[in-house]
Amino acid sequence: MRLTDASVAIRPRTAWEAIDLGVLLARRHAGLLMLSWAAVTLPLFAVISALLWQYPSLTVLLFWWLKPAWERLPLHILSRALFGDTPTLKEALTALPRLLKPQLIASLTWRRLSPTRSFDLPVMQLEGLGGEARGKRLTVLGQRHSGGAAWLTILGFHLEGLLWLGLATLIWLLVPQQMETQFDWETLIQASSGKWLWLEHLSNLIYALVLVFWEPIYVACGFTLYLNRRTDLEAWDIELTFRRLRQRLVGSAYALLLACAAVTLMLPAGDALAAEPVGTCPVPFDDPAGPDAERLLNQPLTSKAAHEGIGTLLDNPPFENRESVTRWRFGDEEKAEEPSEEEIKDFAELLEKLFKLSEWWGKLDPVALAFEVMLWTLLILAIALLLWRYREWLETFGGRLGLPRRRVREMPSQLFGLELAPESLPDDVAGEAERLWAEHPREALGLLYRALLSRLLHDFRLPLKSSHTEGEVLRLVEGLQHEELGRFAQALTRHWQNLAYGHRLPPESLKRGLCEGWRRLFGRRAAA
C-alpha cells in the first residue's frame, strides 16, 4: 500500500463526511461494483428460490442472512481500486472463493447481527486479523466512528425497506386499471394459500435488486469509515505530506548525486573526453534531432510525459472551452444521376410530342384569344367591383395604410409679418400705392412688396417658406428666368429693406418707376 497512490483525498473527516466519501467512492466504481454483486447474488437467489419454492419467506430470510459473505467482494474491489489498481470483473469474480474462506462461519453466525459489520469487515479482510488480535484492534478503532457505523447500518436497514416498498409501489402503480379489480387486498392477505406464491417471489426479487444498488454503497461507506479512522489514528495525511516534503528536499539531492556518480563512472579516458564535447543532455539547439526529440529519459518525468501533461492541461478549461452544438438540418440531397441513354430517348420523345401539341394548339388560336380577352375582362371587372364595394372603407382607412398621397404644399399666409392672402390685397395695388406714397411711404412700399410676394406665391407658385429671408426670395425669383420680374423684384426689395430696416425713405422719383413696373408686370394679368 502506497499512500501516494491513493485515489481519494486523505484527510481526517467527521464520521458523516467519511460516509459521504464512501458514497462517492461507490459512485465512481458503480458499474463494476453493481455488476459483480449482481453476477454473484442473482444466480444464487435464483437457486435458493428454486429450491425453496414453497417457502418464499424462508428464501428471503436466507438470502438476507448470507449478505455478509458477499460483502467481501465489493470490499476487495474497493480496496484495490483505492490505490489505482481496479480489478476487472473477471479478476474480481475469480478472487471470490479465496475471499470467502477466512472466518466465514463467524461472519454468518455470531457476528451476523453486529451493527458495525461494515466497519469491522476491513479489519478481518484487509488486515487479516482474527481472534483476540482482531478484538483488540476493533476496540482501538472503535473508540470513534463505531457510532457512525451503527447509524449507517440502521439507516441502511430502513433504506432497503424504503427502496423495496418504493419499487413495489411503482410496479403496483404501473398495473393497468382493468386488472386492478382482480387484485383485492383480501385476496392479497390470503396470499399464503399458495395461489400468490409468484407474487412473493416477485417481492423477493425486488429485494435482491435493491441490494444490487445499495449493498456496494453500504460496504464502501464502511470502508471509508475504517480508512478515516486509520487516517485519524495514524495521521496518514501528515505522513503523506512529510514524505512528499522529504522527496522534494532529499530526493532531488539524491538524484543529482546519483547522476554525478554515473557520469564520473562512465567517463572515458581524458583524451576522449577532450575530443567529445557532447554532454549527457545536449542543449536542444545542438541536438541533431531538434528540440522535439525526446530528452530527460532517465528520470521519472521525461520530456515526452511533460509534453503530454502540458498538452492535456492546455486542452482543458480555461485554456480550451469546447461546446458541441446540435441542430436539425435536411438530410443529404440525393446526387443527380447521369441520365442514361434510355432517359435521353424518352426525353426526345417527350419533346416531339410537345411540339405536336403546340402545332395542334396553333389551330385553336382565335378561340384561345377570345377566352383570354374574356378572362382578363372578368379580372378587371372583379377588381373594379371590389374597389367600388369598398370605396368608403378605402377612403376612411386608406390614409392609415400609408398609401402614397400627393403632398399638398402648404402656402404660408404670412412672410416677414406681412399678410399674403390675395383677398387681403386691394384690387388696384399700383393705384393704392401711389395714393399712399405721399403721406405714408412706408405703407405704400410695404403694400407693393407684400403684393409682390403674394403674386410670387400664388401666381408663380414659388415654394416660399416662412423661414426664407428677402435675399433667398430674390434668388428664387432669379431662378424663374423672368428678366423683368427679376429687375423689378430686386429694386423693390432693396428699397423695401432700406426703408424697413434702415428707415431711409425711398426717393420720390422711384414712385413712378415702381408703380409703372407693377402695372406692366401684373396689371395686364389683373385686367385679364
Partner: protein, 237 residues
C-alpha cells in the same frame, strides 16, 4: 514537482467543493450526504408530528371550527415549516441544526425565498413513489448529494463549519524551518504538533523520522524540532 501535484490532486476523490469568489478566494463547502440529511429529516418529522398532535388535542375541544383550524395548521406545518426555518434561521431547521447542517445556494450564499420555496415544494416529487425513494436515489447518485429539489433550486445542504478551538502545541524551542515550506507543508507540521495527543508515541517518532534527514538531526530529536518549527509558524502567543 508542483504542477504534477496539482494535476494529480484534481482527480482525487473528495467530498469538498471549492467555490471561488470574485476576489480569488476559495470558499470550501462540504456538501452533506444522505445519512445526516435523512437523520435531520427524521428529527424534523418527529417535531412536526409532536406539534400537530398537541395542536389537534387542543383544537379537538373546539369541534368543527377546531377541525378547520387544524387543517390550516397542518398545511402550514407541512409546507411552510422548512421554508420559514430555512429563511429565518440561517438555513437550518431544528433537525438540520442538530446534525450540524445548513442550506445554502450553490455558490455558498445564504438561501433565498425562491430557492427555499422551490426546493421544499419539490419534495412532492422527491417523495415519489414512496417515502422519498426518488430523493434518496438522486442523493446517492449525485456528486454533491443533491435531491431533485436541490437540483431545481440550485441549493446545497452543507455541514456548518464549527468554531475552531485554540489548539495546544507542546513546549519546544522556537525555531525557523531550515528549508522553505509550502502552505500544505506548514499545515502538516502544525497538524503534527496539534494532533500529538491522538497519536501513539511510536507513531509520532515514525512520522518525525521521515523528516530527520532533511532536518539534519537524529531521528530521536526530530519530533522535538518539528514541534519547535510548529511554534515558530504559529508565532508567539
Amino acid at each position: 514537482m508542483q504542477p504534477n501535484l496539482a494535476l494529480s490532486s484534481t482527480s482525487l476523490l473528495d467530498t469538498r467543493r471549492q467555490v471561488e469568489t470574485p476576489e480569488g478566494i476559495d470558499l470550501i463547502l462540504r456538501p452533506a450526504g444522505l445519512m445526516p440529511r435523512a437523520l435531520a429529516f427524521g428529527i424534523d418529522l418527529l417535531i412536526r408530528g409532536a406539534i400537530l398532535l398537541g395542536a389537534f388535542i387542543l383544537l379537538g375541544v373546539l369541534g368543527q371550527f377546531g377541525a378547520g383550524l387544524g387543517t390550516i395548521l397542518y398545511f402550514l406545518v407541512n409546507w411552510w415549516y422548512p421554508v420559514l426555518f430555512e429563511m429565518l434561521y440561517q438555513g437550518r431547521t431544528p433537525g438540520k441544526k442538530t446534525m450540524g447542517l445548513r442550506v445554502v445556494h450553490d455558490d455558498g450564499t445564504p438561501v433565498g425565498w425562491a430557492a427555499s420555496l422551490t426546493r421544499n415544494l419539490l419534495r412532492a416529487v422527491d417523495m415519489l413513489p414512496f417515502a422519498y425513494c426518488v430523493g434518496a436515489i438522486s442523493c446517492l447518485s449525485h456528486s454533491s448529494f443533491k435531491r431533485l429539489g436541490d437540483l431545481a433550486a440550485g441549493t446545497l445542504v452543507v455541514y456548518r463549519d464549527e468554531e475552531p478551538k485554540r489548539p495546544q502545541i507542546p513546549e519546544a524551542d522556537i525555531e525557523r524551518a531550515p528549508f522553505p515550506l509550502s502552505l500544505a507543508e506548514q499545515r502538516a507540521v502544525l497538524d503534527f504538533a496539534e494532533r500529538r495527543a491522538d497519536l501513539s508515541g511510536a507513531r509520532r517518532a515514525e512520522l518525525a523520522a521521515i523528516l530527520a534527514e532533511p532536518l539534519d538531526s537524529l531521528p530521536d530529536h526530530a519530533e522535538k524540532r518539528l514541534h519547535g518549527i510548529a511554534r515558530g509558524l504559529v508565532g508567539s502567543a
